[in-house]
Symmetry: C2
Subunit: 567 residues, 2 copies
């Protein structure tokens, strides 16, 4: 995978250009730009969640540089489903051009509209559903039902004069889904007969052999857990997993328990899902969190967020004992969720905390309380065989997932040269049935931190990592350039360095000497304050490295004595 930047040639009329701006080489910030005859179609616009090496970052966006001067040419943004990694960056795109039409299913649009309302944006939308065909400039889009861990997901088949593309979005092929809405293989078959020139399939589970089990299995496990529980039950899962919540509601109703939704996103999403008919709440089953004191523990199920060990979410706070819901010995906690790689430490910290409080904890490590939302290798093989695409570009996954998906394609008979392993910013052109990489454009991480978007740089993150590993020392000195003396300071303060400030008593006089030596050097060597600061930095830096074996960040401030300015 070559990621050296290489500007593609100007796009000729009649050729389709495909540029993923995120989602390849990472799980998150999915966004793909299609271009033909001067018009752009965007599929998905999601966020990526930061890793521990990106401290303080709230979100990571797709890199919009590639389209920043082309916003007026966007004919539509198609959203395949309502997960954050597919819709989370829409507000940031619409802030730049609020009238870009959003196209998606009813639930997807309801979720993105709720998100946009928080940013005070009211979008132009077009609701579509499976089987519908809509044209957006030179793109004719046909929508196909796919099954995923959120209802109402769609794949999109894009017809252009250069060829046809099938973009799956996230999907799996549960043959017994809760809502009966399967990934429509008959539809796939028709599209396969028409001809798929380029196929962009979800790669998340391409390394996983076999088939993802049906969501329905979890209902039986929950039913057993609820039957055996004789105190409070707390279930944690993703706040958008309508079918998982449905099964919790059903299991609770079966045992005559009330369900309390806990966590802002859980309440918001389930309110939307219920209103639109995706969630079926049995009569009087839902109870407001404020009223839980009216019920005995054995009458309640709490359905909450925090299944990934997020420190501020309800479950973590319960595990730490700082939530209004106090976990008691004998309570049953179910983590009905995946364990996203990288979250192990925090999830097990929560599990250990709950166990130490005496609760029983059921999680995917000891019971079948989760199934994935993504097609495993066996399911992907079905897709390749029914679609028989000419070219394949695996998307939605780390390098290892993309490679594994490409290998599956090859096993079904697709020639290796027709399998495109790309990364963010890879430019692929499709013309007369041939897809090939023609360039590589910039696709950096765009960090959201507080109110700032794109202002946190890689250098800032390096600074933050140095600060977190080593802390910092600030050294403030006031010098008088007339007397060539240090007249105040050095005032030395350390934070995160784990030494008493008194340790610096040794080095203070050396800083004074170094500065005064410099000040006494003749006029030709007259030092600027910046140069004096460098002298302070070197003097204390080498002392700290030698004496304390540390390399904190050093912030030297040298100020000229104010009286000089007034003379």
């Amino acid at each position: 995978m070559n990621t050296e930047l290489r500007q593609p040639k100007k796009l000729k009329n009649g050729t389709l250009r495909v540029v993923p701006l995120g989602g390849l080489g990472e799980v998150g910030r999915n966004m793909t730009v299609y271009e033909i005859n001067g018009k752009l179609l965007v599929v998905d616009c999601g966020v990526l969640f930061p890793e521990e090496s990106q401290p303080g970052v709230d979100l990571i966006l797709p890199d919009l540089h590639y389209i920043e001067n082309r916003l007026q040419d966007i004919v539509a943004v198609v959203l395949t489903h309502g997960h954050e990694d597919h819709i989370g960056a829409v507000p940031y795109l619409l802030k730049r051009r609020p009238d870009i039409p959003l196209v998606g299913s009813q639930l997807t649009l309801a979720l993105v509209e709720a998100k946009l309302a928080e940013h005070r944006i009211k979008p132009f939308t077009l609701t579509v559903k499976e089987g519908m065909v809509e044209s957006f400039g030179p793109f004719e889009c046909e929508f196909v039902a796919v099954n995923h861990s959120i209802p109402d997901a769609l794949a999109v088949f894009i017809r252009t004069t250069a060829g046809n593309v099938l973009h799956t979005g996230d999907f799996k092929m549960d043959q017994l889904p809760l809502d009966g809405r399967i990934t429509d293989l008959r539809h796939f078959a028709r599209l396969g007969e028409e001809g798929v020139d380029l196929f962009l399939p979800d790669s998340t589970n391409a390394e996983v052999p076999g088939f993802t089990p049906t969501e329905k299995n979890i209902g039986k496990v929950l039913s057993n857990v609820f039957r055996d529980a004789n105190q409070r039950i707390i279930v944690a899962s993703f706040s958008s997993h309508v079918h998982r919540v449905q099964q919790v509601l059903d299991a609770a109703h079966e045992r005559g328990r009330k369900v309390v939704l806990v966590g802002r996103s859980m309440v918001r999403n389930m309110t939307i899902a219920e209103k639109l008919g995706y969630l079926n709440v049995p009569d009087n089953t839902l109870v407001d969190l404020k009223k839980i004191d009216n019920y005995r523990p054995e009458e309640l199920v709490l359905m909450c967020t925090g299944s990934q060990g997020e420190p501020m979410a309800a479950l973590s706070r319960m595990a730490n004992g700082d939530h209004k819901v106090q976990v008691e010995p004998g309570d049953t906690i179910v983590l009905a969720s995946s364990l996203i790689p990288g979250n192990e430490t925090s999830v097990f910290r929560v599990i250990n905390g709950l166990l130490a409080l005496g609760a029983e904890v059921i999680h995917k490590g000891n019971a079948k309380v989760h199934v994935s939302g993504h097609a495993a290798a066996g399911e992907l093989l079905y897709c390749y065989n029914i679609l028989k695409p000419k070219n394949v570009m695996p998307v939605h996954g780390e390098v290892r997932h993309l490679i594994a998906n490409g290998e599956l394609a090859q096993e079904t008979g697709i020639p290796e040269e027709n399998i495109i392993l790309g990364t963010g910013g890879t430019v692929v052109d499709l013309y007369e049935g041939k897809a090939e990489i023609v360039g590589q454009v910039r696709c950096d991480y765009v960090y959201v931190d507080g109110r700032s978007v794109g202002q946190v740089s890689e250098d800032d993150l390096k600074d933050r990592l140095v600060l977190s590993e080593e802390g910092f020392i600030s050294v403030v000195t006031v010098v008088d350039r007339q007397t060539k003396r240090v007249v105040s300071g050095p005032d030395i303060h350390a934070r995160g360095v784990a030494e008493n400030d008194s340790v610096f008593e040794d080095i203070a006089p050396k800083i004074v000497t170094a500065l005064e030596d410099a000040l006494h050097q003749g006029p030709s060597k007259t030092h600027t304050n910046h140069q004096l600061q460098q002298i302070v930095r070197r003097t204390i830096g080498s002392w700290v490295a030698r004496r304390l074996r540390r390399k904190p960040m050093i912030i030297p401030v040298v100020i000229d004595t104010p009286t000089k300015n007034r003379d």
Copy 2:
């Protein structure tokens, strides 16, 4: 699990007291103190590796407060095996009293001596082996062979007038180990017949059903991988895993390849193991790293460290392309190691990097190239049944592991009240066959950072986390108390905040006003510099929170104009 501090009653003569100072509620810093009739026996003295919430920390030690005034009473430190989490803190204990005798097997002592040599300590040692009985004051210790992921591991059976304790150390029950040295169940049976009053078993894999497969299986997998490879092979594993390295040597020898050991700890440990006869190097198989250019890629196997994605280890640097060994398309990389929870992100980063370079990567996710070193639930049941201990205190594991191990004990018929779930600092007394918790002593994390031991506090770590999430702003101002004016500054510098310093132009005049207002308040309100600094902190802090939606650390420095001091 109650962790509130509760000083135990003074220990009566004839009662055995057991106090773990680490290793319970965590995987690492294993250390247990046994006391009877005024004398102490220590079993193991290891380190814990920090998590991401402990930035900048090198190691975490057991809390020695409990024994700090009792060092002269220690009759011996028994080391069960040579892993860091069992021997790594020995130098820090011996720095306080260098003549404490160390007792362990030949390999264990050789590894701890190499470590002590780096700290310039030459210890008093007593080499023991399985079957031997040695008395240390009131403790009679009998050593039992156990099998683990490092050779020459020992359990210790401790006879006292108060009862007998079996402390397993880490172990598993591979029935076909590479060196033929099994966990000696005949010996366990004899001890069971004599009577085990308290059993302290390894809990790491108590949650894992069934049996750990034999290490020998890996030899076959490696042999197949080596047969199919036609370029360079790179294997990464733990640097103390002598049997894993042995199997790599054997597979390499079988294919006529040379092996290069890469990484300081790998070279050091394998040199010791070979010298003592634990590692059998086939003739002329080992080649020095400096000479690899004399061999073609298909003639070489590199055996290196870095299997956990440690950023400075050989494998990570190869994946980043900044190691002298350049990974080429077609190379075969084998991660013959576990994936320790918490390391997923870094391990997969390395795997993705190697795949992107075109290498084939074999790891425990896609091939059977690792087996655990710890007994799974099935093996632990054998132990409970053959030993029939009166009391059990599970050790070596997080809360979830300890609880799972306790449940296994209960399933074999040990009454629940005889199963002790403790944590670091739990004080357990054994007298006349009855073990019970009698107190809870302090057992804090003791952080090693650079040259400092125990100086990094939880507050320092909080500071570091704030710095890493938010960065800091320093504000330096010089004031003249006679004119009641700010005569220089505010000089505002931010790091890690991701804003240009120019953003602060707005707030600078407000800081000046706030300070001068304070200075003008009458003599009764004369502010100290500290109070003025608080004013600066509040002024800029609320502005930053409102304007930038951030909460960086704020370091206000207010200096009196130096001329005043000279007046």
